[in-house]
Amino acid sequence: MATASRSCISLEVVEVNAPQSVAADTWTVAGRTFCSRLIVGTGKYKSFEENAAAVEASGAEIVTVAVRRVNIADPTQPMLTDFIDPKTITYLPNTAGCFTADEAVRTLRLAREAGGWKLVKLEVLGEAKTLYPDMRETLKATETLVSEGFEPMVYCVDDPIAARQLEEAGAVAIMPLGAPIGSGLGIQNRVTIRLIVEGANVPVLVDAGVGTASDAAVAMELGCDGVLMNTAIAEAKDPVMMARAMKSAVEAGRLAYLAGRMGKRRYADPSSPLAGLI
């Protein structure tokens, strides 16, 4: 893809007396390969201009978008596609706001017609208060979408069994919440997110809950393939700067995961040698 090289981390292995090898760290979902492991939403921004600048600063190659009625009263008002070009940034249509499988499937059928994309994000919500997913409806919608040729990336609870069932139903990515949507509480459930990562054969992305850069790094350190966020960037005092921070955090967390962290000890272990003390 045209933009594939712009945010790849180079994994340089520098060894004495050995040629330098450089490999790009990429991830693949439903046959599409991306360098950036950060997916950003396009909601809650003050303006289209700010939104576009934040996407650029984040290095994201995928943005989530919603499907809504056109304003018939003013059909000339600017559209998102005028500011974020779907030819260079992959639009991932989302079913935010849908509370039944039927609503979600109907929305994505229209999204497919509007954009021509099979890669979609499914979320079927259970209640407005927590925006927790309704897994019964989510699984039902996943099965219908897969039977109609869609490739759904699926927002879900942090339940390794539910994640496995979604994967068996044909979900192309598993996207457990780290905390409720828009809460900014950070990754509340590291153990279950890790269990999902270990059990999955498709990409796992934390979707929802990230509040600041360290939260994104935590998600990546757990071995997730990526992180999806909206509010953490859009509601920052400086969204463009926060987008930069998130880009760095996702890359740092990814590198730390690949590097393999040190073991934890209960007591101190000096960094300087004990031998030769005066």
Binding site: G41, T81, N230
Partner: protein, 75 residues
């Protein structure tokens, strides 16, 4: 409005609002009359998606219910 023109006007629902449309219009003609670029929207007619390639052929009938959507910012 003349009597003949009134006869030629049918009423449909677009995004939940009643809307008069010239009888015999295609969906593409209706979009044009509203001022919309068919390349930027998706159309559902009576709960069925109308493929973009057929917008010029599918006719608008009295009482049809349309949803016309596009992409907006979202999470």
């Amino acid at each position: 409005m003349t009597e003949a023109a009134q006869e030629a006007t049918i009423c449909v629902t677009v995004n939940g609002e009643p809307r008069p449309v010239r009888g015999g219009s295609s969906v593409a003609a209706m979009l044009e009359a509203i001022g919309l670029d068919p390349r930027k929207v998706a159309v559902e007619r009576n709960l069925e998606v109308v493929p973009r390639s057929t917008l010029g052929e599918v006719g608008v009938n009295d009482g049809d219910r349309f949803e016309i959507v596009h992409f907006v910012g979202g999470g």
